[in-house]
Symmetry: D2
Subunit: 338 residues, 4 copies
Amino acid sequence: MIIVLKPEATPEIAQELLARIEEKGLKPLHMPGAERVVLGALGDERVLSELRLEGHPYVESVKPILAPYKLVSRELHPHDTVVRLGKVAVGGRGFTVVGGPCAVETEEQMRETAGAVKKAGGHALRAGAYKPRTSPYAFQGHGEEGLKILRRIGDETGLPVVTEVMESGDVDVICEHADALQIGARNMQNFALLKAVGRASKPVLLKRGIAAKLDELLLAAEYIMASGNEQVMLCERGIRTFETATRNTLDLNAIPWIKQRTHLPVLVDPSHGTGIRDLVVPMALAAAACGADGILVEVHRDPSAAWSDGAQSLYPQQFEQMMGQLKPIVAAVGRQLA
Amino acid sequence: MIIVLKPEATPEIAQELLARIEEKGLKPLHMPGAERVVLGALGDERVLSELRLEGHPYVESVKPILAPYKLVSRELHPHDTVVRLGKVAVGGRGFTVVGGPCAVETEEQMRETAGAVKKAGGHALRAGAYKPRTSPYAFQGHGEEGLKILRRIGDETGLPVVTEVMESGDVDVICEHADALQIGARNMQNFALLKAVGRASKPVLLKRGIAAKLDELLLAAEYIMASGNEQVMLCERGIRTFETATRNTLDLNAIPWIKQRTHLPVLVDPSHGTGIRDLVVPMALAAAACGADGILVEVHRDPSAAWSDGAQSLYPQQFEQMMGQLKPIVAAVGRQLA
Amino acid sequence: MIIVLKPEATPEIAQELLARIEEKGLKPLHMPGAERVVLGALGDERVLSELRLEGHPYVESVKPILAPYKLVSRELHPHDTVVRLGKVAVGGRGFTVVGGPCAVETEEQMRETAGAVKKAGGHALRAGAYKPRTSPYAFQGHGEEGLKILRRIGDETGLPVVTEVMESGDVDVICEHADALQIGARNMQNFALLKAVGRASKPVLLKRGIAAKLDELLLAAEYIMASGNEQVMLCERGIRTFETATRNTLDLNAIPWIKQRTHLPVLVDPSHGTGIRDLVVPMALAAAACGADGILVEVHRDPSAAWSDGAQSLYPQQFEQMMGQLKPIVAAVGRQLA
Amino acid sequence: MIIVLKPEATPEIAQELLARIEEKGLKPLHMPGAERVVLGALGDERVLSELRLEGHPYVESVKPILAPYKLVSRELHPHDTVVRLGKVAVGGRGFTVVGGPCAVETEEQMRETAGAVKKAGGHALRAGAYKPRTSPYAFQGHGEEGLKILRRIGDETGLPVVTEVMESGDVDVICEHADALQIGARNMQNFALLKAVGRASKPVLLKRGIAAKLDELLLAAEYIMASGNEQVMLCERGIRTFETATRNTLDLNAIPWIKQRTHLPVLVDPSHGTGIRDLVVPMALAAAACGADGILVEVHRDPSAAWSDGAQSLYPQQFEQMMGQLKPIVAAVGRQLA
């Protein structure tokens, strides 16, 4: 529920109303604007209807938030959120390119790959230390050892690092080493994990599940925000359809749809989205053209030797060419590569 | 099967080999190049293996066509095909914009809408006279009357016209009035119709079925080419997935995938692909960015009064803005709006 | 629109009302019952609302048909329709088993296979003379020659025969030789063909498209009925989903859903529905358990030598065992194998 | 890898080989049979190939396990596993019916509903104390309080209880109160949770994810077994497809497919599989007919007042009728309701 106060409402009145919202067991929100103070109340709809603030002398108007997601919605927060990924701003006018290998394999592999990302103009580094693998017999990641390598390489290159968290118990150690926590597609509705990263101090990159409807993605983001973390980036990474020519079906329609409904930045992962190296660059360009705030791209110093996802990883020179091709597209839609 | 002749092979030898291919019941192809003559033989694989041309003194090499589609494949025909849609060239360096309403409603509606398409710089006109409708009680189109209106408006504006054919029996009358025949998504595997348009004198715009794998789309095009019509344009228009936020899921991954495998031009229909007006322009830009040869966009002089597809039709001024936004994107990928 | 007349309404009054419906351009329906006469009016909703029959002195009540399909709906026709497939009744208390090979290959193959179907207690024979094939280079069926073989074998065994029609132009010749016309999945929304079989004198077996929603299947049946043919059988044959373990995903949920909404009989095709021989019998039993009116099963005298669909065709002895296993299941749901 | 020893191999030799497998970092398995001892070795394929046991004098044969899942596969374990759910045997000749409400709401609601399940002949009780909900503002379950109610009602009725676990940290408390742990569809690839329940002392009911391929379901079960828990039941509960007539598409094809490949019991949940009360019983019967080992059905003392899933919950009398209808179907496939 959005409560717009009259111009003459004093801070004390706002505080009194927030207290009233809170004692009903609802979540109070305070959004002071240039001209008016706006309050929010979130929670059970039946309780909301008992608040009866319409008649209050300092309340100008009360309106329901129609979307099932609230904190995530543009109804409550019309301006674009800019997420701070280390020193990089994600969202707003910039277009952010995050590159890196699927997994942290060795320190040398990370150093060479990160060097290529940096040299080509990439803004941040991605790599997994904890890997969700379909088979229990596949490489599961180096864990904390991998985190330390990632941190070291991030510091060397000056690139902020994003890495996946698979379990509530690992949130703290990952926050210690990384600049952002990634929730993978398989965990998009792991609600315990969403709540855990919602209490964390680092931004969260939330990937869409392979069978998640867009409303469900936004509600998953709502779990994180409702737990207190407002630094959330969404990521489209392909859905599962009948089509087997590509590993997944990258759903770019999601980008303008989501941007209309939420203030959160939205990235696109054309590597997982297609699963085919030759399609990564065209889809990266398409993502920029339809309004994405950035991309997440797999690149490896030697894709043919990658321990995982080699078939969808760019060669360093392809990554560099992509950066050049992105520039005019990004400019054409009124943005800039940082 | 592709048969490369030695440089010294005379035209007579080529003719003799073509005759040998034909008498086996196979389809012979003659592809003279600058340096060498290449022959093709299509048909049943068992018969192909009986040809035994490897040992022929004027044959340099024989190789199978690996793809299940042959005439459609780049293996047989590496250069891009340019299709002649009236005086407009589709494919090659240009980027073609086809606009128009879902259906021919009235002469006035067509005249105003076509005028807007022309004024904004659109290259061709689309509208249906025969409408495939899910319910037998919905408007089924004006039929031949609609074709005549379409032709008149096409002549007035100088825009070539594309319109849907739903039945073999209507191919002739549509060829008489239109510049290209559209096969709709529901008829992509109506093989009798594919063969019929394969014998027609006008180019064919073949739309992907809502549940068609990309291989199946190319094999449907193969039906048309195998029946003799080489002027085929493919069109991605959205597939049916679990996602209901959009009417269909426009699958742009298809564009670079298809362009690698076939020499035929590929258009994108973001109107049916998304079903939502606000998504049409972003997805049109994305289509241009990932390598499409053009787009097919629904526009109506007054979408709120459209008899069908109003919710996905652009207003004339949106169409005009889109043309402006397309220009730098098209240029960024090395093409041009005619 | 359903118009219930008062008990005192005479036949003349009914005729007068039907004429009034017809002159508005609507389709009139006359459904005399034991106690009351019920009339129907189908067509454009705006015209329906202009009829204004509510105030007529002999009209008891007027109610809209809520479903988008009308003739197909139980709202208009609450009792189960029984379709006459030659001398076999499909629908009602019986459970019908239609068996046969994918395609008519040779007279011997048909004779042996049909003999096995007959001997095991099968009720009807299926086989294709016109084959819809994804590739133009695959076997396309023997055409009229195949129809003649099919008719001969049907007559020899006393089994009625069902075969696919792919084109309006073939409806007559197929009606001449077969007892029912099958519309394949790819043609479920080939509206020209639906209208053509709607004018035919033989029953129609309408298969669900691989991406057809159930409402769309019922609307496709409505096309046939609205063209005059009331003898329609529906058939669930698997939909296309992300799952690749099976060729299609046989959607048995469709059976009770459809049976609630329509009076038409519904068959299940577990051969195409699964694409795997070992799954055919379990799914045939499941179809019987959840209320199907019969099954359509591929069987071949020698599946390993079948020209098409060998992997999903039963061996004759498996077909025979299936008939034995079906008996108690069919009895458990209050039906009987004829 | 499966290693069959010669008849003359002594227990000491088997131990020596198991030690050799273990010191390579592989998981050793000891499977003594009536005639021969069979050993297994699981883990990284490259390491497996270094074992070189083919030449060992007491080894009769060595063969790879072809399926990506090993412990789960019938290749390694041909006989059906029977899981002990309290005193109820799941798998084997019996057919198990688990009933209960979506969530533990109140003690009275649980007592009445469980009483109805017991009276009708149900074998076990299901209800959620921890509820995965799409929105953070929806009822999230009573947690440990709910577990205690569930345990109390289970003890009163003598029905073993199954309940969902959503987080590794809750495994212990749930094991204390419940007879089996359910992994919900959203967590099927929450690998941290799979490993956690793999170390638990209670059986696990693993539900298929809404977009999980069958191979992925079996690999998820492999995670649990590889962590040490051999008491795993699988559950088909509907997949997400384009069809919106039903909440999900219950994929019964999965049952015979899975039963061929694994020795684990497989249940079916027609409540979530269809989402529509009227379809639950027909699909329960179909599940029994195609070889499922049991069903999981939502029933509520008053579905219209249920806090969640009311539309798909049976009324107690429907549940009772279903038990009667199941009996002859279960008997027809050679099984029995306990």
